[in-house]
Symmetry: C2
Subunit: 116 residues, 2 copies
Amino acid sequence: MENADAVAALAALAQDHRLAVFRLLVQAGPEGLPAGQVADALGLAPNTLTFHFDRLRSAGLVAVRRDGRSMIYAAQFEAMNALLGFLTDNCCQGAPEQCAPAVCLPAKPKRSKVTV
Amino acid sequence: MENADAVAALAALAQDHRLAVFRLLVQAGPEGLPAGQVADALGLAPNTLTFHFDRLRSAGLVAVRRDGRSMIYAAQFEAMNALLGFLTDNCCQGAPEQCAPAVCLPAKPKRSKVTV
DNA sequence: TCCATATTTCAATATTCATTGAAATATGGA
DNA sequence: TCCATATTTCAATGAATATTGAAATATGGA
């Protein structure tokens, strides 16, 4: 990961609503959530939310797919782990064995009522 | 750590020069570096650097002390680890045992030529 | 005391950002 | 086809940000 990519990801997360959105999506796991559900959960106007989703998306932190009328947004765990890796890159100088690189794993995909 | 604190820390890191400064200070370890040395290393104007140090400092990511004519800036590892912890807080839903929380440890303070 | 070094403060400027309101687009169902 | 739902697009606005240049402050040494 390049410095510039890290800055983009950090900037995407460096905003109240976007950080809340992202954390919600991390909790939701790789299946993601429809935009409307995020809007309801966080009390955001739909157009404002689109604006924030766009920033998260162009930083690579979330992905979208359409499902009927809904747009489903999902956290991108690999991108997040790349960021965490970059941040801990030059920690523990001289004692790398003491260093715990962070990993953010999605939950084992749970078979929901909707999924087969 | 509160959402607002995390936003402050992320915003502090979400800038090219500041991220570079912070990484340099992490590498330097808890002893820190004089402002001028950071300015030289990264090619930044001293007043610009002061501006960026201020933001890192008010986010709690660095601390300063004076040493003669120099101001010595040092990364605050606890603050960084708090941020990493916050970011990985709601990862691994339902499978927390798989989750590696990140830790950024400074090198064991090495006795330099200057220190006793 | 006077000077050079190291860093900060201040004001000005151009850019980017978040939010709003109104209008547009896409999908699914009657 | 017509309508309601879900979301995006667009333009406008005010606030925050990064950089610059010039001047100020603090320290240490001659």
